[in-house]
C-alpha cells in the first residue's frame, strides 16, 4: 500500500512539474511573440505610409490572380459575397465559385443573379476531385465562373477551383467573408515585392459581428453585442496580430487562415493540393508545402501581413463555437500527427525547430495538460502536496498572465490599425481582454480537449458552423 502511495505522490509531483513547465513555456513563448510583434507590426504600420497599393494596381507586372470561393449551402450570403468580391480592387482578377453540391438554392440564386449559362466546357483535373456537374459562365462576365460539383467537402471544392484556375496565384476565400477593397492587392505585395520565392501569403481575419455592412462593404466597425463574440474579437486580435505576426517574423509560419490566403498555384499542385485526411485543410496545406519544399530542395517563403483585412462572422452561440473549436483542435492534431517528421528537424529551420514543437507541445498537447491541471492540482491540494497559498497564487498568476497577453494584443491594435474608433469599444475590448481568462478560456479549453479526444478516437467528420447572417 505504501508503495502505491509513493507511486501516486511521485506521479502527482511529475504532473505538477509538467504543468509548471507548460505554464512557463507557453506564456514565455507568447510573451516573446508579443514583444516581436509589437515592434514588427508598429514598423509595418509606419511602412504603410509609403507602401501604397497604387504601384501594384498600376503595374503591368502584377500577376493575375483568381479568388476561389468554395460554398456549401450558403444561399443567404452567396450572391452578396460574390458581388462584394467582384468589386475587389485588383488588376486582372478572376473569380471561381465552387458550389460543393449544395442542397439549398445557392446555385440557382447565383445563376439568376449573374445570368449564368450552363456550358459544357473542358475540365482538366490535375488534382483528383469528385465529379463536376456543370460549369456556369456569363459571356459578358468572363471573369466569373461558377462550378457545380458533387459534394466532397471544402478541400475537394478548392481542388476543383485550382483545376479550373488559370492564373499563377489564387486566393481562397470563404463564402461568408467580406474582403476589404484593396485587401488582395495588399496580400499580393509580399509575393510581388519579395526577392524570395513567396508561395503563400496570409492576411488578417477580423470579426464581422457587430459591424455595419452596406453593399458588401464594412462601413462601420464596432464591437458585437454578445459576450461570446466579444471574447472572440480579443482572441482573434491575439491570434492574428501577435501570434501569426510573431511566427512570421522568425520564419516559422505554420498556419495561414484558409478563409483568406493567397497561394502559388503550381506549388500547391505539386505539393498535392488540398488533402481530405484532415479537417483543417489550410494548415495541412501549409505543412504539406513545407515538406514538399524540403524534399524537393526548393527555397520558399511564406508570409503573413497584418494589413490586408478579411471580415468574417464568428459563432454567436456556444454550440457553434464548440463545433468550430473542436474542428480546429482536431485538425491541428491530425496535421501535426501526420507530419511528425518535421519535429525538431533542422532541415525545416524555424518551422521544424520552433514553430512545430510549439504547436505540438503547447497548442495541441498543452490543452490536455492545462485541462488535467484543473483537476490534478486541486487533487494535489487535497492530498496536501501543494500548500494552499501556493495553489491560490499559481491560479492568480495564470489568470493575470493571460490577461496581460490579451491586453497586450489590444494595445497592439491601438498602436497600429485602430479599427474600433469609439472609446466605448476600446474600453469594452480592454474589459473583455481582462475577463477572457475567467470562464471563457476554460470553456474553449473544454472544446479543445474534446477535439483532441475526437482525434484520438478517430472521428473525422466536419462539423458545419452555421451563421446568423451578419452579412446581408
Amino acid at each position: 500500500m505504501e508503495e502505491w502511495r509513493q507511486v501516486f505522490y511521485h506521479a502527482m509531483n511529475m504532473f505538477n512539474v509538467l504543468i509548471v513547465s507548460y505554464f512557463f513555456l507557453a506564456n514565455g513563448t507568447y510573451t516573446l511573440l508579443m514583444i516581436f510583434s509589437l515592434v514588427s507590426v508598429w514598423v509595418h504600420n509606419r511602412r504603410l505610409g509609403y507602401l501604397t497599393a497604387d504601384d501594384l494596381r498600376e503595374s503591368p507586372v502584377t500577376p493575375p490572380a483568381t479568388i476561389i470561393m468554395p460554398a456549401w449551402n450558403e444561399q443567404e450570403v452567396i450572391v452578396e459575397s460574390v458581388r462584394s468580391i467582384m468589386r475587389t480592387d485588383y488588376p486582372n482578377l478572376e473569380i471561381i465559385v465552387v458550389d460543393d453540391g449544395s442542397t439549398d438554392d445557392s446555385l440557382n440564386r447565383l445563376v439568376n443573379a449573374f445570368r449564368l449559362i450552363k456550358m459544357d466546357l473542358i475540365y482538366r483535373p490535375r488534382l483528383a476531385t469528385k465529379a463536376v456537374r456543370g460549369i456556369y459562365v456569363n459571356p459578358r462576365l468572363p471573369n466569373l465562373v461558377v462550378i457545380s460539383k458533387d459534394n466532397g467537402g471544402k478541400p475537394d471544392a478548392l481542388n476543383v477551383g485550382i483545376n479550373i484556375c488559370r492564373t499563377p496565384y489564387f486566393c481562397t476565400l470563404d463564402a461568408d467573408c467580406i474582403l476589404e477593397r484593396d485587401a488582395l492587392l495588399r496580400l499580393m505585395r509580399p509575393i510581388v515585392k519579395s526577392p524570395e520565392n513567396t508561395v503563400a501569403s496570409g492576411g488578417i481575419v477580423r470579426i464581422l459581428n457587430g459591424c455595419e455592412v452596406q453593399d458588401g462593404k464594412v462601413v462601420n466597425v464596432s464591437m458585437p453585442k454578445g459576450a461570446i463574440e466579444r471574447f472572440q474579437v480579443v482572441e482573434y486580435l491575439r491570434s492574428f496580430l501577435f501570434g501569426r505576426t510573431g511566427w512570421d517574423l522568425v520564419g516559422g509560419t505554420l498556419i495561414v487562415s484558409g478563409a483568406f490566403a493567397v497561394f502559388h498555384r503550381e506549388t500547391v499542385i505539386e505539393a498535392g493540393g488540398f488533402l481530405h485526411d484532415t479537417v483543417t485543410e489550410d494548415m495541412d496545406l501549409i505543412v504539406q508545402i513545407h515538406r514538399w519544399a524540403v524534399h524537393h530542395k526548393r527555397k520558399i517563403k511564406m508570409s503573413f501581413t497584418s494589413d490586408p483585412v478579411c471580415w468574417t462572422e464568428c459563432p454567436a452561440k456556444m454550440g457553434m463555437l464548440g463545433r468550430q473549436r473542436r474542428r480546429w483542435q482536431m485538425g491541428l492534431c491530425q496535421t501535426l500527427w501526420k507530419s511528425s517528421e518535421m519535429l525538431f528537424n533542422s532541415k525545416f529551420k524555424a518551422v521544424g525547430m520552433l514553430s512545430f514543437p510549439f504547436h505540438l507541445y503547447v497548442e495541441a498537447l498543452g490543452s490536455m495538460v492545462e485541462f488535467l491541471g484543473y483537476f490534478m492540482v486541486p487533487l494535489a491540494l487535497m492530498f496536501g502536496m501543494v500548500p494552499v497559498p501556493l495553489f491560490i497564487m499559481f491560479v492568480v498568476l495564470s489568470l493575470v498572465y493571460g490577461s496581460f497577453l490579451s491586453v497586450g494584443s489590444v494595445l497592439l491594435e491601438e498602436l497600429t490599425y485602430r479599427r474600433y474608433p469609439s472609446v466605448r469599444d476600446l474600453m469594452i475590448l480592454l474589459v473583455y481582454a481582462v475577463l477572457e481568462n475567467i470562464g471563457y478560456r476554460q470553456v474553449v479549453l473544454y472544446y479543445r480537449v474534446q477535439g483532441v479526444m475526437k482525434f484520438i478516437f478517430g472521428f473525422r467528420q466536419w462539423e458545419k458552423v452555421t451563421h446568423l447572417g451578419a452579412t446581408p
Partner: protein, 494 residues
C-alpha cells in the same frame, strides 16, 4: 514529497505583482495612446479644414500662387513640416497638378527636407518633430531611420522631382530594402532618361547575383513604365551573353510595346518610334535565340513591327519546337493585320498542347467573320477530337452559340446546322438548349425540335419534355409530345 523550491512564495508573488503592474501599464498605455491619437487627428482635421481648400485652390489655380503660399507658411507648431507634408500629399495629384505641387513643396522647403532625409542627414525639422511627436524621433534615428528615408524617396517620386534623380539613383545602394524599392519606384515616376541606364544595370546585377533586398519584379515594373523611346538603351542587354538578361530585356520591351499598342489603335513599330538596330536584333537574333523564353516573348514585339520580314518570322515561331513559343506566337498574331494568315493560325488548332489550341481558337475569333468561318470549317473537317473540344469550348465561352442558333434559324442545311449537329453529337448541348429556349422565334424551336428532338442526349430529352408540357405554341407541344412518346431514340437504335 511536495514539489517546492526555496522562497517559492516570494518568487511567485513577485511575478504576480510584476505581471499585474505590466497589465496595468499596458491598459494605461492603450488609453493614453487613444487620447493622444484623438488629439493628433483633431489637429490634422483642423488643419485639413483650414488649409486643404487653400492647397486645392492653388493646384486648381483658383487663387494666386503667392497668396496661397503665404497662407500655408502661416502653419506653425512643432509638427509644422509633418503637417505640411501630410496636407500637400494627402491626395494623389493628377498629372496636370504635379508641376504646381512640386513648386509648392519646393517653396515650402519640403523638398530640401526630403533630400536631406534621403541622404540620411539630421535636420532641424526632425528635432522639432521629435519634440512634438516621440514617434518622430524613433523614425529618424538608428535602425528605424529607413522609414524616414523611404518616405522621403516616395515624396520626391510623387511630385516627380527631376533634379533629385541622382539622389534617388544613389539610394539604390541604400542598406535597407524599402529605401531601394521606393527609390526604384520614384525613378520610374520621374522618368529621367539618364536614370534608365542605372536601373538597367541594377536589373543586370540582380539577375546575375540575386539580391536579398530588391526583387526583379520591382525593377522590371520601373523599367516598363519608361516610354518606348528609351528602349534602345536595352540593346546591350538584348545582346548580353546571360540568357536571363536577354529574357528580361525582351520582356520589358514587350510590355512597353503591348501597352502602347493598347493605347493606339493603328500602332506599328517603325523607323519613327523603334530604332533599326532594335528591329534587326528582334528579327535576326531574338526570334531565333537559344533561350525559348526569349523567342516566346519576342513574338509580341515582332507582331507589331512594320518590317515585311515580321510575318515570315512569326510563321517560323508558330512551328517552334517549344509549345509556349508557339502559344505566344499565336497570341501575338491576334491582330486584324494577320487576317490573311488565318489558315496558318488554324493549323495550330490541332497542336499537341491544349494552350496552343486555345490560343489558336481565340486568335481566330479576333479575326471576326473570316476567323469564325475558319473555326467552323476546321471544327467540321477535323478528325482531331481534342481540337474539336477546344473549338466547342471557345465558341461557348465567346458567347457565339446564340448567334449560331440565329443563323441556323435563317438558313437551310448550311454550316451552322452542321456545327450544331456536331455539337449535339459531342454532348455540348447545355448552352444550345439555353439559346433555343431564349430564342423568341417558335419557328427556330420547331426546326430544332424536328432536327434534334429524337437525339438521345439527356438534356435534349428533358427539353423536349419541357416543350411538350409548357410551350405556348400548341403545334410545338403536340410535336414534342409525339417525340417524347417514341420509346427508343432513333439514333440510339443505330
Amino acid at each position: 514529497m511536495p514539489f517546492l523550491i526555496e522562497n517559492i512564495y516570494e518568487v511567485v508573488l513577485a511575478i504576480i505583482i510584476f505581471v499585474l503592474l505590466g497589465t496595468g501599464a499596458l491598459v494605461i498605455l492603450t488609453i493614453a495612446r487613444r487620447q493622444r491619437r484623438d488629439k493628433y487627428f483633431q489637429r490634422i482635421d483642423d488643419l485639413r479644414q483650414r488649409y486643404s481648400p487653400v492647397i486645392a485652390s492653388i493646384l486648381a489655380q483658383k487663387i494666386e500662387y503667392e497668396r496661397g503660399l503665404e497662407i500655408l507658411r502661416g502653419i506653425s507648431g512643432m509638427d509644422r513640416d509633418y503637417a505640411l507634408e501630410h496636407l500637400c500629399l494627402e491626395k494623389k495629384p493628377t498629372p496636370d497638378q504635379v508641376p504646381t505641387l512640386r513648386k509648392l513643396c519646393e517653396d515650402l522647403g519640403l523638398v530640401k527636407l526630403w533630400q536631406l532625409r534621403l541622404r540620411g542627414g539630421l535636420d532641424v525639422a526632425s528635432i522639432r518633430d521629435a519634440l512634438g511627436r516621440p514617434e518622430g524621433v524613433i523614425q529618424r534615428v538608428g535602425t528605424l531611420s529607413f522609414l524616414s528615408r523611404a518616405k522621403a524617396a516616395d515624396n520626391l517620386g510623387i511630385i516627380k522631382h527631376q533634379p533629385s534623380w541622382k539622389l534617388l539613383v544613389r539610394a539604390l545602394g541604400d542598406p535597407h530594402a524599402d529605401v531601394q524599392a521606393i527609390a526604384v519606384r520614384s525613378l520610374a515616376s520621374i522618368q529621367e532618361p539618364e536614370s534608365f541606364a542605372s536601373l538597367v544595370s541594377r536589373l543586370q546585377e540582380i539577375i546575375q547575383k540575386p539580391s536579398e533586398t530588391l526583387s526583379l519584379r520591382t525593377v522590371k515594373t520601373a523599367l516598363v513604365s519608361f516610354p518606348l523611346s528609351q528602349m534602345s538603351a536595352l540593346l546591350p542587354s538584348l545582346r548580353h551573353t546571360h540568357r536571363r538578361v536577354r529574357f528580361f530585356a525582351t520582356d520589358i520591351i514587350r510590355e512597353v510595346v503591348e501597352r502602347q499598342a493598347a493605347w493606339e489603335e493603328d500602332f506599328v513599330l517603325d523607323a519613327k518610334n523603334f530604332p533599326a538596330e532594335l528591329t534587326e536584333v528582334f528579327l535576326e537574333s531574338l526570334a531565333f535565340d537559344e533561350n525559348p523564353d526569349v523567342r516566346a516573348r519576342s513574338s509580341a514585339v515582332i507582331a507589331n513591327l512594320s518590317d515585311a520580314r515580321s510575318t515570315p518570322v512569326l510563321l517560323t515561331l508558330l512551328e517552334d519546337a517549344q509549345w509556349f513559343v508557339r502559344m505566344h506566337a499565336v497570341r501575338a498574331m491576334a491582330k486584324r493585320k494577320f487576317l490573311s494568315q488565318a489558315p496558318q493560325v488554324a493549323r495550330r488548332l490541332t497542336d499537341s498542347h491544349w494552350t496552343v489550341r486555345e490560343a489558336g481558337a481565340r486568335t481566330l475569333l479576333v479575326f471576326g467573320r473570316v476567323g469564325s468561318e475558319q473555326l467552323a470549317q476546321h471544327f467540321l473537317s477535323t478528325e482531331d477530337r481534342y481540337s474539336r473540344e477546344q473549338i466547342a469550348d471557345e465558341m461557348q465561352r465567346a458567347g457565339l452559340v446564340p448567334t449560331l442558333i440565329a443563323q441556323y434559324g435563317a438558313e437551310r442545311e448550311g454550316a451552322s446546322t452542321r456545327v450544331i449537329d456536331l455539337m449535339v453529337q459531342m454532348g455540348k448541348t447545355s448552352y444550345l438548349i439555353w439559346a433555343i429556349e431564349n430564342n423568341p422565334s417558335p419557328e427556330v424551336r420547331k426546326k430544332f425540335l424536328v432536327h434534334f428532338g429524337e437525339e438521345p442526349d439527356p438534356q435534349i430529352r428533358t427539353w423536349v419534355s419541357h416543350v411538350a408540357s409548357t410551350d405556348a405554341d400548341a403545334a410545338l407541344r403536340t410535336l414534342a409530345g409525339e417525340l417524347i412518346r417514341i420509346p427508343e431514340p432513333r439514333r440510339g437504335e443505330g
